[in-house]
Symmetry: C2
Subunit: 219 residues, 2 copies
């Protein structure tokens, strides 16, 4: 996979040594997060909306209600900026100044185009469903025509992107190392809990094997 | 605490029944998340940057390097939009269409003003540090004059805000309830791990009691 060109738009300005521009790093961050934040502009006012995303090769898919303001606006091709952030830990230094976070973040700049073809849309919805839980698409009831019409999908063509990553221990100033203060990292991670049955679950509809496998793989 | 007025800017348009406008709900969401996403506009281009935040009464504080583009832009009073999103679970319905997420999200619209007074700035930095870990400010080495100058703080005056919350089981269509498909919620939560000592930790600088207390309270 290639690198994204560094331009004034995607260049990591603060702490540039944390900037990364290779598609592999950026895509790994995109794929590791369930949600993204989408920013767009209407009448000089910035808006942000959190939503699910799924990567499809070198593009990003978003979906929502056909009536959604965000989906309509993005489908019209206005500039859109998408951020994905994974928080990995609190970095505690001897000095307040050197406190930080460990994180992996990616920012994409692009424009959307609507996915109109029903087969392509169905394929996109399958990707969203499988992103949530591999095996789910073949098990759940698939969208009917009415539901398909009520759902809108846009494909974001990524024009530019960058990642910013910090990991590892605190970086204290040499003169602070002798201070009698604990320093280190408190790791943070997202965990999945035990599935909670729907209260109206019919008899025999037990937690499926593909969900058990998914949870077992994440422990 | 009061409610925010509903205006075209902050009104939850999709699934309006999930919209909430009371400051108590919105502030609880702000306070429950370590990071927010800040959107702003430069030359019609939206930007998003993830950052730490801390609420100070009816305002929100952000901090960063004095040289940071975002801090300078916000300090100049341009419109800024801030989103905080907490992901609480994957909602698995019998139908693909009714799959969803459980989440708590808040969006704030406002403008920033720089915090210039050194005492006020120091007070703000204490709030950031205590937000990360209560007890840390009194233990770590406090900022010196040079570090204080290198750090910029802005106060966001919240003009408008709303929250959007989904919780509870899937909402399947009545005709899908008899399908032989498991339905329910897979809870998601953020957990803190065992502290990792800095490799150059001096003898005797053990994990402090206030960190042990913090971790014990979050299990």
């Amino acid at each position: 996979m290639a690198d994204f060109d560094r331009t004034p738009r995607n260049q990591v300005k603060r702490l540039p040594q944390r900037g990364q521009y290779d598609a592999e790093t950026i895509y790994q961050i995109l794929d590791a997060s369930l949600i993204c934040h989408v920013a767009f502009v209407q009448g000089e006012q910035p808006f942000i909306i959190p939503t699910l995303h799924v990567r499809d090769g070198d593009t990003l898919l978003l979906h929502g209600a056909t009536t959604s303001r965000m989906m309509q606006h993005i489908g019209e091709g206005h500039p859109v900026t998408i951020a994905v952030t994974l928080v990995d830990g609190i970095v505690m230094a001897r000095s307040v100044f050197n406190h930080s976070m460990n994180y992996r973040s990616a920012v994409l700049f692009g424009r959307g185009e609507p996915v109109i073809d029903p087969q392509e849309k169905l394929h996109a919805l399958a990707r969203f469903t499988e992103r949530l839980l591999p095996g789910r698409w073949d098990d759940a009831r698939k969208p009917n025509d009415q539901e398909l019409k009520a759902t809108s999908v846009v494909r974001i063509l990524i024009e530019s992107a960058s990642a910013k990553v910090r990991n590892g221990p605190p970086g204290d100033d040499a003169e602070d190392l002798a201070l009698p203060v604990w320093a280190g990292v408190v790791p943070i991670r997202q965990v999945f809990g035990e599935p909670v049955n729907a209260p109206d679950l019919r008899d025999g509809a037990d937690v499926p094997g593909y969900l058990r496998d998914f949870l077992a793989a994440r422990v």
